[in-house]
Amino acid sequence: MKKVHVDVAVIGGGPAGLAAALAARSEGAEKVLIIERNTELGGILQQCIHHGFGLHRFKEELTGPEYAQRFVNLVKDTDIDVLLETMVLEVTPERKIYAVNSENGMLEITAKAVVLAMGCRERTRGALRIPGGRPAGVYSAGTAQRYVNIDGYLPGKRAVILGSGDIGLIMARRFTLEGAKVEAVVEVLPYAAGLTRNVVQCLEDFDIPLYLQSTVIEIHGTKRVEGVTIAQVDADWNPIPGTERKIECDTLLLSVGLVPENELSSQAGVAIDSITNGPIVDDSMMTSVSGIFACGNVLHVHDLVDNVSKESERAGRYAGRFALGTNNSVPRRVKVQAGNNIRYVVPHEVSSTEPVEFFMRVQRPEDDVVLDVGGLRRIRKASVRPSEMLDVKITPEQLQNLEGDTLIMQIIPQKEA
């Protein structure tokens, strides 16, 4: 078995892994290695051929592959090692990585620091328990996206999309552009789950109906999907009798959420937050296992890749320092807590040595509110939406003013604030 020693090993070569590797290298880590199972770098962005990436970072509207390529080019200009078509099978708490590829066989990689950047997977039909048969023609939206954008095949010609997540909205437009008919997008919530921009550009512009507070209650067909029955739901998401309607279609796409891929992390003993389904991290993006860091969609599901890059640079920087042994000692630990109408906050814990950026999501939509950052900062917001991640920065100086060692993040109505 081939044995390799590196300073920083990055698992996953998507935007998170690329940014982390670059930052670790700039920080001075000598041997940085990216391990990626696909045939090329770029992660899921390679199949996101629509535009709308990089508005924040590059002040330009790029496609997914274009955005990825900017980082891939930067990596190429360095001496960062890249192993492609290589799958990581195991990470130990001692930071030994077992990875396999057809050229080298099994590799045992010992790393001073590890960055987890494995991304996420899509929630499946089984997780939803949609009743009915199990014919061909049911795909998660990302799988369909890959079939169309990478492989060049169109799964079917009449589609219903369950879930109004961004990937589903994007695929509604893609199917239409490919010549297929999208009969409906069906969403259980009273509002669209994806970005408003995508609702407008992908549904409204193409006259695709969006049915809110509705769901698919049955899939018809034995060999191939022949149709679905949809119905309106009550406040508890139970179908309302009498509102059922059958729609004929040969394809059902599911866009019902993403789940961070943390099987490797759990194996390594990394503690997982049951709300984000990602690791619990401090503001250096270090997990509960010393020397193992996490960033990107493996940490929590992002809707903008620009945020992924930012967060991952932080992880890479600290991983680099950890490998070099130059990590600052931590004077004080502050726990971060989700308060009123906050579903989760990342990072989960902060020290007060450097400015820190918090990413969070709300539980439900609310207008005219104030985001209260542990009493240290108060930011007025016209509206907050679960689909739109909030971010806020705190400086060490501001953190000094915190009483106690818990920082509560909360949303309060403007009139109470």
Partner: protein, 490 residues
């Protein structure tokens, strides 16, 4: 096609149906110098009830004394370890526990204990403390249990595929995607009509599962019928695999064994099945109501089960006979026709024992049996990358690089294993999923389906648009991108 236009082929013994029963019979008959043909309607064997059940190798203490179920279940159980060893099929002998929630139920458990003892089943009685020690996640209210350590779990589809592979290796012929649409007798000969051909046989084994009464009726045998009874099952993610060690049964109700919590041979935990009489033999839908009943039942055994960990669901239909027992007998009306019908639960367990009786029954009907010297009970071993040590994996990849390419990332299944499955007979995405479990994990094929579609297309040398989930009509992707814009012009 018109009957008259169809060509006629002949075979000494024709087995109709490639479920666990048909494939076990095929392998059993391949021990003899015979010309055997198996006919299966689906694209691959094992796609009937055999692929959709609980996968439990029952202990043999449940069944009423004096029934064929009792006879074949216990002897089938005893044959499993050797059979699975010969065929290199997973058999987890993890035991079966029937638990009592009240002292009153414990009385019933004692009756099953007595029944098992009398039959020769290895059974033990557990106190409340012993139950809690062995299965700490069970409801603490459980007062005691019966434990049968020789019960276990298999992957039924894997077993059926392995039986078929071994039968073929020993000379059995087969036709897949071939439905028997009519059948009749002329003198000693039996005729089976398929959409393409007519097959003339000396002996016919009816192993058509849910449709065994229909096949019997084609021959004029209408003295039994099948009453389909559906069972829904729900599968959990591997992350909760260690919740229970053995299959947990409640005290059974009148017609079914109740809702169970099952550690499957694949490692996932499963709960089910329901038992509902249905009109349609092919009613494989799952339902919210079914889920509610299963979840409620399972939580009575293991209260901490979390519905959010469910990754898949399915339903299977039991082919219960109107006799309430298995039908294993020569037709009283058609000489040389053997019915293996009404093989509902515990049919999977019973299959090897039923099959072992088939040569004798056919001999009774006049078939001459001569043992085949060249019979080989073993099939070529299967590589399971996941179960090898890191060193073994390393060595394997160096020998064959395709084992270094992981295709299914949830279950770590390699391209080598998928190609091997295709060479052993897999033709479809479901066939691969059931054989090597690629796509059976938590992402349910989201990542690997497109890759497996490509591999099937390459290995079978068919267009990507001809790759199916489960046979003709279930094409995975229907069109080449932009094809819908193409228009015929003159």
């Amino acid at each position: 096609m018109d009957k008259a236009k169809k060509s006629t082929i002949t075979a000494q013994v024709v087995i109709v149906g490639g479920g666990i029963i048909g494939t076990a019979v095929a392998r059993e008959l391949s021990r003899y110098e015979l010309d055997v043909l198996l006919i299966e309607a689906e694209a691959e064997v094992g796609w009937g009830t055999t692929k959709a059940n609980s996968g439990i190798v029952h202990g043999g203490f449940h069944e009423e004394p004096g029934t064929l179920k009792a006879k074949y279940c216990f002897s089938g159980n005893q044959m499993y370890p050797k059979l699975c060893e010969e065929l290199d099929v997973c058999f987890e002998q993890n035991g079966i526990m029937m638990v009592a929630r009240t002292p009153h139920e414990m009385e019933t458990v004692r009756l099953y204990y007595k029944r098992g003892k009398e039959r020769g089943v290895n059974v033990q009685l557990f106190s409340q403390e012993e139950v809690a020690r062995q299965e700490p996640n069970l409801d603490p209210k459980i007062v005691g249990a019966l434990f049968a350590p020789e019960g276990g779990a298999v992957m039924p589809f894997e077993l059926a595929a392995a039986l078929m592979e071994n039968a073929i290796q020993n000379g059995v012929k087969y036709k897949m995607n071939t439905t028997v649409i009519d059948a009749w007798r002329e003198g000693d000969k039996k005729y089976l009509e398929t959409p393409e051909q007519i097959i003339r046989a000396d002996y016919v084994v009816n192993a058509a599962g849910l449709f065994s009464d229909d096949l019997a009726r084609m021959f004029g045998d209408d003295y039994f019928s099948i009453r389909p009874r559906k069972g829904e099952e729900y599968i959990f993610d591997l992350s909760v695999k260690d919740f229970v060690k053995s299959t947990i049964f409640p005290v059974p109700g009148k017609i079914s064994k109740g809702i169970l919590v099952i550690p499957t041979a694949a490692g996932n935990l499963m709960m089910g099945p329901t038992g509902d009489n249905v009109e349609e033999k092919e009613d494989l839908g799952t339902s919210q109501d079914g889920f509610n009943r299963v979840f409620e039942g399972a939580k009575r055994l293991v209260p901490s089960l979390d519905a959010r960990k469910i990754i898949a669901q399915f339903a299977g239909v039991r082919a219960a006979s109107d006799r309430g027992d298995f039908i294993v007998e020569l037709s009283p009306n058609v000489p040389g026709l053997l019915h293996l019908a009404g093989i509902e639960s515990p049919g999977l367990t019973a299959a090897p024992a039923i099959a072992a009786d088939v040569p004798g029954l056919l001999e009774e009907a006049g078939l001459q049996l001569e043992e085949k010297q060249s019979f080989n009970p073993r099939r070529a071993g299967v590589v399971r990358f996941n179960s090898l040590s890191r060193e073994e994996q390393d060595a394997l990849v160096k020998k064959n690089p395709s084992f270094g390419r992981i295709i299914c990332r949830c279950e770590s299944i390699t391209e080598g294993e998928i190609v091997d499955a295709i060479h052993r007979g897999a033709r479809t995405l479901d066939g691969i999923k059931f054989r090597v479990r690629a796509g059976a994990g938590r992402c349910q094929g989201g990542f690997c389906q497109p890759l497996i579609t490509q591999i099937l297309s390459r290995e079978l040398d068919i267009p990507v648009t001809a790759v199916t989930k489960a046979g003709p009509g279930s094409e995975q992707v229907r069109y080449v991108a932009k094809e819908l814009y193409d228009e015929e012009v003159r």
